[in-house]
Amino acid sequence: MDDLIDLLQQNALMPRPDMARLLGLDVDAVNSAIAKLEADGVVLGYQAIINREKWDADKVTAIIEVKITPERDGGFDRVAARIAKFEEVQSCYLLSGGYDLLIVIEAANLRTAAAFVAEKLSTIDAVQATATHFRLKTYKENGTFHHFAAAADRLAVSP
């Protein structure tokens, strides 16, 4: 199962017969294993990694540190869920350290990003403070390089 999850994480679009051959299983076994991972909620979804310089270059990504006051009953979870539900929010993590939540937002442009922070995020009662960092360039995302291509020539035949 570990190997199958690794393969899905590297390239979820790899043809199932190839996956089967790599894992030494038959295609039906791979299909049902993937179906089970999906049904059990282990695999939550599949996404493409987009090079923002080539597509939708105006889109803004911001990483926002959020300090919040936990609620007496819900702790951090309820506030986090409330923030995560905004459709601008792509990712939301609870962290240890100097602030509590780290959120990643995407917005059509700088103005909408700023509006989200000023009007939606900061106005939530539990939010004490925010610090917003705008993405300038992506070098690596989810294990995939955006910029460097490494190629090394090997001898065509060697002992």
Binding site: D18, R21, L22, A152, R154, L155, A156, V157, S158, P159
Partner: protein, 391 residues
Amino acid sequence: MSIAIADHVRNIPRSGIRDFFEIVQTMDDVVSLGIGEPDFATPWHIREAAIYALERGRTGYTSNLGLPRLRRSISDYVCRKFGLAYEPLSEVLVSVGVSEAIDLALRALLNPGDEVLYHEPCYVSYAPSITLARGVARAIETSAEDGFRLAASDLEAAITPRSRVLMLNFPTNPTGATMDPADLEEIAAVCIRHDLVVMTDEIYSELIFDGGTHTSIASLPGMKERTVFLHGVSKAFAMTGWRIGFACAPAALIEAMMKIHQYAILCAPIMGQDAAIEALERGDQSVEKMRKEYELRRNFITGSLNDMGLDCHKPKGAFYVFPKVFGLTSKEFSLRLLSEEKVAVVPGTAFGASGEGHVRCSFATGLEQIKVAMERMAGFVMRLRSQAPAG
């Protein structure tokens, strides 16, 4: 005038791999399964440590035996992975790849005419290195039916009063053969009975599949004192170009090897030695990641080869499969596969006469390349079968 070359050098045949390489060099779009080195670049943390060392100006000679710090790393690593305790400052020598260590050990051990036994098919350098050290190379054939393991009875039968050394290489290049502890115990008993020195080249020992473990013959009772344990960072850590190998052996032998090494080589390059420290001390995770990838590719390639009707056992180690071909000799098969389908494999005979009937396919190549190679090879084999129905 023509310069006369020494007889014992002139009589050494050129490597079969080199002949083949020269043909491949002239062609475009070849998919090569002929490469005996990892397709991964050295893991970044190791490269980065080497860059840092260079920045600090570490560019000089080292002690002949290698940096003391590296020798301690080697001693710790060998203890951790193989259960072997070597004294870092007197029982460890850092060499320019395992190839140099093999040469040093042979030259330090052999008197002219002494016999060295080794199992075949085997790495291309063994027989020539023995000859260059003025020894007599005695191959012991192994077979696919036996999983290319060395049988104690075959070893015993090959021993003569001149036999001094047994060379082992498990997991084996080119067959991927491995030995169980019980097999090794039988070999060890023969070596003790006949007072043989064992040189064990365990360069592929981290690349073991199916959850198996590797046992070094040096760890068996009574063996450490008669064994030269040879290893290096090339294969498991994807560090072929750094040229760092090492030998662990009783101090008197290391001292003798060092005499040759200091006059011929002086020391292994310090850049490689600094990188090797990082690899051995902090490289386990990188190795495991690559090992896993090799294991999946092995499944892919053995599945494909068996489907197309080229019989091949699933190797339990290294990164080679050694399928049986039919209808043609190894060399004809490889040459035709190359010219008709542009797929390079290495003829089994490059690894000794007993490799006839087989070709070596390396799976230290990206999956996409392997897929293309398997498709082309399947087409070739199908044509071959229709031409030679007797196969």
